[in-house]
Symmetry: C2
Subunit: 234 residues, 2 copies
Amino acid sequence: MWHTKWCILHGMHTYTPPTLTVDTVVFRLVDNQLEVLLIRRGREPFAGMWALPGGYCAAGETTEQAMSRVLAGKAGIITSRLEHVEQLYTFDTVARDPRGHAVSVTYMGLGRQIEPESSAATQEPAFFSVQDLPELAYDHEAIIRYAIDRLRSKLTYTNVIWALLPTMFTLTELQTAYEAILGRPLDKRNFRKKFHALDLLAATENMRKQGASRPARLYTFAHQKLESLDKSFD
Amino acid sequence: MWHTKWCILHGMHTYTPPTLTVDTVVFRLVDNQLEVLLIRRGREPFAGMWALPGGYCAAGETTEQAMSRVLAGKAGIITSRLEHVEQLYTFDTVARDPRGHAVSVTYMGLGRQIEPESSAATQEPAFFSVQDLPELAYDHEAIIRYAIDRLRSKLTYTNVIWALLPTMFTLTELQTAYEAILGRPLDKRNFRKKFHALDLLAATENMRKQGASRPARLYTFAHQKLESLDKSFD
DNA sequence: ACAAAAGTGTTAAGAATACACCCATGT
DNA sequence: ACATGGGTGTATTCTTAACACTTTTGT
């Protein structure tokens, strides 16, 4: 059944790999909304539609290098500004060019208050609330859903929220960030109790005043890095 | 910095993708040992060393198709005999040929009492206990460790053990399977209590007699498929 | 004084853990 | 009768979930 391909593969010089692409789901958190970075496609297929920033991975280039290059070139985002990047999944998908099949390695990137830097090369990069996505090219909506699932589950067993929040934040901001991503309300007292028990936060001397209400203490993460929690969160 | 590659990528006919390979970690459970399928490499690099069954993914072929083809051809394992297959991770790794870089999509396959069928094409496929692996080619030891981690965590929130056990088994066999994979002893009464509470098993009329001891009731999984548990197991 | 968000404890129910003896069978 | 593995229940601790009022500030 697969004999033909098998023979082809024995002659090394006749080996033709599939097209390999990299697509990246970059999230940020603005106004208690989880937002995803999209670009508008300039060419066929799906010309004019919104899509995840992605492109070809070339020989000699790791998929992470390709991701950085594409993100900078097409979307004006410097990878080193992202607090966290991880691989999601590898999809067998439709090719970027019309001839058939491609393999796409997908990544998720998380940043705080990142903004795309427009340049000649970028393709109208913009952030959209995940609640309100435009119609997307390829299978990119499925990839974004996959990324949201991954992010949600990571919230419960890591301090990954660290990558999305400013370095100082109030406990209410922390809670509303969780609520925005999980998509459900959390009990204020239980939330604070659990977070204090996890011993991840350090209180600062600073307070945030806003409007006519009691000032809120500002906190930071004690260890400015991603870590797994001993006990899962929610 | 990346300008050269960026330009190359704009001319479609000059695009050369990296080598794309697929490597598969096939597990079975024999004599309360988790075993992994390896083949002995016939050619350089790493000639003579043990390795995961893997090979090139060709244009027009999905990674799953490549996995099935390679598993059948090099290791004599028919993918449809595996109860469960899932993608693990995609590694940027050393190439199978000496020139540099390759991208390897890895899969995990689980089967019950599977045996490699040797043929002219197969490369000495054999199962090894994960406790006692030979020295392995490439980064394959790291891939196996990754697969074991994935399998361990899936034990706690799915009925994935179903894919490794015979269709009928005693509760003691079920428990020792968990213990073999998790690598630690479990309390017999608590184990049975939790498993009964999960409502996954159906008692059969059959009993297993062995030696001079009370016969044990045989159970099956009520739904012969992989499912996620409402409450995590351990 | 009031509006607005910050902050704080207790109780009840459920889940996880530790633990030891009797049962059915073959020899 | 004894050796072998099969099978069962309870008490304790810990975790989770539900729930409402006081405090601090600005206007």
